[in-house]
Symmetry: C2
Subunit: 422 residues, 2 copies
Amino acid sequence: MIIAKKNALYAQSGGVTAVINASACGVIQTARKHKDKIGKVYAGRDGIVGVLTEDLIDTTKESVAAIAALRYTPSGAFGSARYKLRGLEENKAQYERLIDVFRAHDIGYFFYNGGGDSQDTAWKVSQIGAKLGYPIICVGVPKTVDNDLAVTDCCPGFGSVAKYVATSMREAGFDVASMAKTSTKVFVLEVMGRHAGWITAACGLAAEKKGDAPHILLFPEIAFNQDKFLKRVDHAVKTYGYCAIAVSEGLKGPDGKFLSETGLRDAFGHAQLGGVGPNIAQLVRDNLGYKYHWAVADYLQRAARHIASKTDVDQAYALGKAAVELALKGNNAVMPTIVRKSNKPYRWTIGVTALKNVANKEKKMPRDFISADGFGLTEKCRTYLLPLIQGEDYPPFKNGLPNYVKLKNIAVAKKLSTKFKI
Amino acid sequence: MIIAKKNALYAQSGGVTAVINASACGVIQTARKHKDKIGKVYAGRDGIVGVLTEDLIDTTKESVAAIAALRYTPSGAFGSARYKLRGLEENKAQYERLIDVFRAHDIGYFFYNGGGDSQDTAWKVSQIGAKLGYPIICVGVPKTVDNDLAVTDCCPGFGSVAKYVATSMREAGFDVASMAKTSTKVFVLEVMGRHAGWITAACGLAAEKKGDAPHILLFPEIAFNQDKFLKRVDHAVKTYGYCAIAVSEGLKGPDGKFLSETGLRDAFGHAQLGGVGPNIAQLVRDNLGYKYHWAVADYLQRAARHIASKTDVDQAYALGKAAVELALKGNNAVMPTIVRKSNKPYRWTIGVTALKNVANKEKKMPRDFISADGFGLTEKCRTYLLPLIQGEDYPPFKNGLPNYVKLKNIAVAKKLSTKFKI
């Protein structure tokens, strides 16, 4: 198959991660090696929003060093967006606009770096191009801290969050253990993962021996049982002197409601601010009387490039690179994946799947990754998770702080006379 | 002055840090080099509580490797305590008990590793020994993440928290900036520092150019002005697309009350859980309507040995070493300090001060370290802070996580027939 030289368009989508820019680095560096087939690499400013509004960034204006620095820079260097395209029938105009922009800028390749929603969008774009008389090669690049994408063994972004939360839990656990005699006895760390408990499970990697923190994991997949939970907390405090708990932001009660949504009101009746972490901590004090502390890592966890997993960085880069290579071979409507070859030693390779296999799918924790009592992880889960946090890949430091790159992000001149309202 | 060979007692006090064990390492390794003058080094289990209850740990049972590993292990390896001894007149029995324990175990040197309260205790002990007929050499070792000890240029523990919060703020700032077009516009990071804004100021190191995160610092030293604050938030969002805020847990309103104490009640009327971070975030949404996220780093910040400042680690060790050397020269009732010799290049040396000069004193941020509008740091402050976060000193990793040491902490046989109730 012979493909005429075309430009490529790369866009970041959804919540950013510590390594999504490593994928961008893989895409751009690989494209730059194939100048016979790929002209310029453009990027959507603020993801698909920039594509729809014809606000494109010319990555050829960035130096070799700046593009290389993406490998160790967290966040989305071109901007990402929480903007879901609707169904083809509901809003065909959106897709027609994308094709107009592609045509105006001679885009032959579209690389969409995101989660399940984004792969759905990429899949739709891959189908509509031919229908509208402008065939385009769409290749997805997987990304999500939630690790909930189908088919791929794991998702770039997750390994680094996993390493961060496990490290933080170990460190906080040491802290609490050393003070518990006269101070805090219960510590709660709230982590991300609205529907899938992968990040919560990763906290459990901090515990290697009986009694190590964390003592309790609260998964979104397991309905919260208050009585059982409080008994476990009390047991841990009485046995080990303290209790460390990791809780998913998406923990639900037996009624299916998020625990973060219940209870607190301010003087004006506004819903409470705190997440589930403070709620769980307060519950412990109200029922058991133990002094508590809680932390909510929030964006710190997904942006923590300083403690990224080398495995994760390597995979993120490799997937970006593979996406370009797949496109150059004429593969449309696909996404490269991570395939696990073995656990000990950990070996992985790049596979490929059709976008329709990952579009809008969500991979929850298998039940046999969670202990029978619902409060811990199993050996099977540990075996799966451990390789993903292996290796350190520190960014360079300057003036005592990580020296991350900010790109110039120079706009491509608009060619369309029409505007598009987001 | 000739001193008979005596045992030494080391105790950790108050909130632990990422580097208090580096001071312990300095004390123990240095004492081990002077076996002609110092017999065994004992440690109080859970700090002064273990001393009062005659629950001492024999550090000679720990291997050379284990003691060396203290240098990179956060938390208090022997346990620390929040336990303040009362005044001499109020509770002389406590001090008499200390002397009884010292006498029973032939303790000639007492090293107390803590903040202002602890140095007050050490000072009292240094005075009472002679009065009770058992002279003891008391040397303080400074420690506090709050950086609020008098005389010393800085306090071990602070530099590492500073590096952690500045790194985290930079990373979260990159994250929010890249999503702001369609998602979170205001991010709030709550940090420690109940009375002194040193840690809040350190967050400001993340911003090197105009527009960099954080855009606003909220210090405990500056009464919160809601109108001025909201205007600044709105300005940042309109100018830079987003606003990142660092807030001290100790932020107070014009009425002098902590902002963390106001407002929220649950259905039973219990006081709110959230700290000031979520309160500030909610305030922004209620008044400006911006989507927000907030993080509360809590213990994660003071335990984050994985991103410790090398300068801080070096100083913590040096102060522990210096404490022993001071004691061996017969200095009683003193504390080694950090003396800054120059900023560029940063050079420091060890000084010494009398314990009474630091006992119960609190060093707040000088007003000229805070910008005139109260929302930022000055160049003077930056010049002071920057050297303290220089250098990385990563711990060894094993299985993807920091390989911190847990000591055996074997108890010394009790010699007293009496018990002491805490």
